[in-house]
C-alpha cells in the first residue's frame, strides 16, 4: 500500500487565475513515460499533494483528448488549498496520485442530448466531460450548458466559455445570482433559470450536474419537477477522501466507497445511499 501512496512528481506548466479564489494548474508528469501512460476519463479525480503540507482531492478538469497535460482547478477553501495558492508557482513540483474513481458514463450518454448544469467551481468536472464530448462531437446530439455563479467575477473558465459560445453546435446559457451593471446574460439562481429559461426537453436527454450542495439540492428538485427520471440525472459527489484507494475509510457512505464506486453517481443511485454526504 505504501507504494500506492507515493505520488508522481509533476511540474506546473501554467497557472491560470480563474476567479479571485480559483486557480487552474496545468500539470505534466516529469517522467515522460509516466505522462504517456497517464490516462483518465472525465469525472475522475487525483490526489494532489503539496509536499510537506498535505494532500487534497481534486477532479481533473481537462479531458484526456487534449494530450500532454492535465488541469486541476483549485478553489481556496481550507489550509492546504490556501498553501497551494500561496506557495505554488509555475515551474514548481507537486505530487499527483491517480487517476482514481469512476467516470461519467460515456457510453450510456452516447447518442443522447446532453444538458450540463454547473455552478461555481462545479464546472470543473463538467469541463472535462464537455471537452471530451466536444472532441467527440459526432457521438452526441444537442449540447446545452447552463452555468451559474454568484457574480460574474466568480465564473471559471471565462475564455473557454467564450469559445464554447462561438461553437454553433453548443448552446451556452450563463447566469449570475444578482444583477450587475455590465452583465447582459441571465440573472437568477441556476434552478430558476433551468425552469424558466432553459426549459429542457426530457426526451432522450441526460443531465449532468455539479455544483455547491445547495445548488444541487434545488436543481434536483427542479429536474424532478421538469419530469426527468432519476437515472438520467448524473452528478458527482464531494466527500472527504484521503487515500483514493478504497482503504482509508473516510469516504464511506454505507457500504459505498465514494473514491472507488464514485464520485459519479446517478440521482437514482444517490437516493438509496444513507444521507451522510
Amino acid at each position: 500500500m505504501e507504494q500506492l501512496l507515493v505520488p508522481a512528481i509533476c511540474k506546473i506548466e501554467k497557472i491560470i487565475d480563474e476567479t479571485p479564489d480559483v486557480r487552474t494548474y496545468r500539470l505534466k508528469i516529469n517522467d515522460p513515460a509516466k505522462m504517456e501512460s497517464f490516462s483518465w476519463m472525465p469525472g475522475q479525480f487525483v490526489e494532489f499533494s503539496l509536499l510537506g503540507h498535505g494532500e487534497c482531492t481534486f477532479c481533473i478538469s481537462s479531458s484526456a483528448t487534449r494530450k500532454g497535460y492535465f488541469d486541476c482547478s483549485i478553489k481556496r477553501a481550507g489550509i492546504v488549498t490556501a498553501d497551494i495558492h500561496s506557495q505554488l508557482e509555475e515551474g514548481m513540483d507537486v505530487g499527483i496520485r491517480g487517476p482514481y474513481g469512476n467516470w461519467f458514463p460515456i457510453e450510456d450518454i452516447k447518442g443522447k442530448n446532453l444538458l450540463f448544469v454547473g455552478g461555481g467551481i462545479g464546472l470543473a468536472p463538467l469541463r472535462s466531460l464537455i471537452q471530451y464530448c466536444i472532441d467527440n462531437r459526432n457521438d452526441y446530439k444537442d449540447f446545452t450548458i447552463l452555468y451559474g455563479a454568484r457574480t460574474s467575477a466568480d465564473m471559471c473558465y471565462k475564455e473557454e466559455i467564450e469559445e464554447w459560445k462561438k461553437n454553433p453546435t453548443v448552446k451556452v446559457i450563463l447566469t449570475i445570482d444578482k444583477p450587475e451593471e455590465t452583465w447582459k446574460e441571465n440573472v437568477g439562481v441556476v434552478p430558476k433559470v433551468l425552469e424558466e429559461v432553459v426549459k429542457p426537453a426530457i426526451e432522450n436527454t441526460k443531465v449532468i450536474t455539479c455544483g455547491p450542495p445547495i445548488m444541487i439540492k434545488y436543481t434536483l428538485v427542479s429536474l424532478d419537477k421538469l419530469g426527468f427520471a432519476p437515472k438520467d440525472v448524473i452528478t458527482t459527489l464531494e466527500m472527504k477522501m484521503q487515500c483514493g484507494l478504497g482503504k482509508c475509510g473516510r469516504c464511506n457512505i454505507g457500504s459505498t466507497y465514494v473514491c472507488k464506486d464514485g464520485p459519479v453517481f446517478t440521482y437514482e443511485q444517490l437516493k438509496v445511499l444513507p444521507d451522510e454526504f
Binding site: L5, I79, M239, C243
Partner: protein, 345 residues
C-alpha cells in the same frame, strides 16, 4: 492439513523455544500491565498464553500505528521522491500466542486490502508470517466471538493452533497448508503425533469453552435488523456517555482507517500513514467546514453499522470479530455488543 501433535507443557515450551531461536518471533509481552505483541528473543520475555484482556491486538504487526510512505527532498532543481527504508515487518516471521479473534481479524482485514487496489505491503507481511494461535480456555467478560458469522472452532485464520486439552495434554494442530509445512519442519522431537482421538478431545474441549460465554447474540437477526435501522433514534442514547476518544478504533483488530500526513524539516520530509478513527470529529470534516458526521451519535452509527452491516454487505464478512478489546479499553465501558443489541432490540 490436519497434522496434530500431542505434547505437554514442557514439550510446548521446548517447541516455542525452538521457534524463537530459529525465527523472527513475536509474542505477547507484558508492558505496563497489559500484553502487547513484541519481538522476542527468549521465551521468558513473553507469555504466549497471555490472559484474555490482552488489550493490544496483533494488528500493529501488519498495519503499524505509523509507517513511512516515502521521503521527499526539495532543492532548487525540483522535488525528488524516494522510497523509504526497508519495511521492518516484511521479513519471514512467526507470531506466537495469537488469539482466535485476533487471527480472524486479520482474515477480515485481508478482504479490504485485496479489494481493487492491492496493498502489497500488507500482503507481503501476511504471506511471510506464520500465525500460531492459542485457543482460549475460557471466555472473557467482553468476548462474543462465538456469536458472530464465523466458526471459531474451525477457523482457518491461523496457520497452527495450540489447544489445551484436559489433564495437561496440549495439542498442536496445523490448520493451513502453510501451517502444516511449518509444523513438519519445526516439530519438536518430544511431540507425539496425535490421533483421531485427539481431534475428538479438542472438540469436546471446545464445547466447554463455548459454554463459558457471558455474551451471546443472534448474529443473523441483529444483522438483518440493523440493515433497516439507519435512522434509529437509539443511536443517540447508546452513545451518550462516549467521550469521543479513539481508543476503540486504535486497539480494534479490524479497524483500518488511516490518515496521511507530511512532516517536513527544512527541505526534506517524510510522508506518514498513521491510525485514524471515525470517532474523531474531524475525520470527515472537509475543507470549507462541511462535516457529514458532526454529531457523536452519527459517528457511532457509522462505527456500528460499518462493523455489523456495511462491511458484510460489501465483502461478505462481518468486520467485528467479537474480541471485546474495545469494551475492555473503553474508558466508559461502551461495548459494541451492547450498542448493536440495544439498537436492534
Amino acid at each position: 492439513m490436519n497434522l496434530i501433535f500431542e505434547t505437554d507443557k514442557a514439550g510446548l515450551q521446548k517447541f516455542y523455544e525452538e521457534i524463537i531461536a530459529k525465527f523472527e518471533t513475536y509474542a505477547p509481552v507484558e508492558k505496563f500491565e497489559k500484553f502487547d505483541y513484541k519481538r522476542v528473543s527468549k521465551l521468558e520475555e513473553c507469555n504466549p498464553d497471555s490472559p484474555i484482556p490482552s488489550t493490544m491486538s496483533v494488528k500493529p504487526l501488519f498495519f503499524p500505528k505509523t509507517a513511512k510512505v516515502m521521503k521527499f527532498q526539495e532543492d532548487s532543481s525540483g522535488t525528488t521522491v524516494s522510497e523509504t527504508d526497508e519495511d521492518p515487518l516484511a521479513g519471514k516471521r512467526v507470531i506466537l500466542g495469537v488469539k482466535h479473534c485476533d487471527a480472524r481479524g486479520l482474515q477480515v482485514l485481508d478482504e479490504v486490502y485485496k479489494w481493487d487496489y492491492i496493498d502489497t505491503d500488507y500482503k507481503k507481511r501476511r504471506e511471510n508470517t506464520i500465525i500460531l494461535s492459542t485457543r482460549c480456555d475460557k471466555a472473557g467478560t467482553q468476548c462474543f466471538c462465538t456469536s458472530l458469522d464465523y466458526d471459531v472452532e474451525n477457523s482457518d485464520a491461523h496457520d497452527v493452533r495450540i489447544v489445551n486439552g484436559l489433564d495437561g495434554k496440549i495439542y498442536i494442530q496445523s490448520v493451513t497448508e502453510k501451517g502444516e509445512n511449518f509444523l513438519k519442519e519445526n516439530s519438536s522431537q518430544q511431540s507425539v503425533v496425535g490421533s483421531q482421538q485427539s481431534v475428538e478431545e479438542i472438540k469436546k474441549h471446545y464445547k466447554s469453552f463455548e459454554s463459558s460465554f457471558r455474551l451471546k447474540m443472534n448474529y443473523k437477526e441483529v444483522n438483518e435488523k440493523l440493515q433497516k435501522l439507519f435512522d434509529s433514534p437509539e443511536f443517540d442514547p447508546v452513545s451518550s456517555n462516549c467521550i469521543s476518544c479513539n481508543t476503540c478504533a486504535f486497539i480494534c483488530p479490524t479497524c483500518h482507517c488511516f490518515k496521511i500526513s507530511d512532516e517536513k524539516i527544512k527541505d526534506t520530509g517524510v510522508r506518514y500513514k498513521s491510525y485514524d478513527s471515525c470517532n474523531n470529529g474531524y475525520f470527515t470534516l472537509m475543507a470549507g467546514g462541511h462535516n457529514p458526521r458532526p454529531a457523536k451519535y452519527r459517528r457511532w452509527r457509522q462505527r456500528a453499522m460499518h462493523k455489523f452491516v456495511y462491511y458484510k454487505e460489501r465483502f461478505g464478512v462481518n468486520l467485528c470479530v467479537g474480541c471485546g478489546h474495545c469494551a475492555i479499553s473503553c474508558p466508559v465501558n461502551i461495548s459494541i455488543f451492547d450498542v448493536v443489541n440495544q439498537v436492534a432490540k
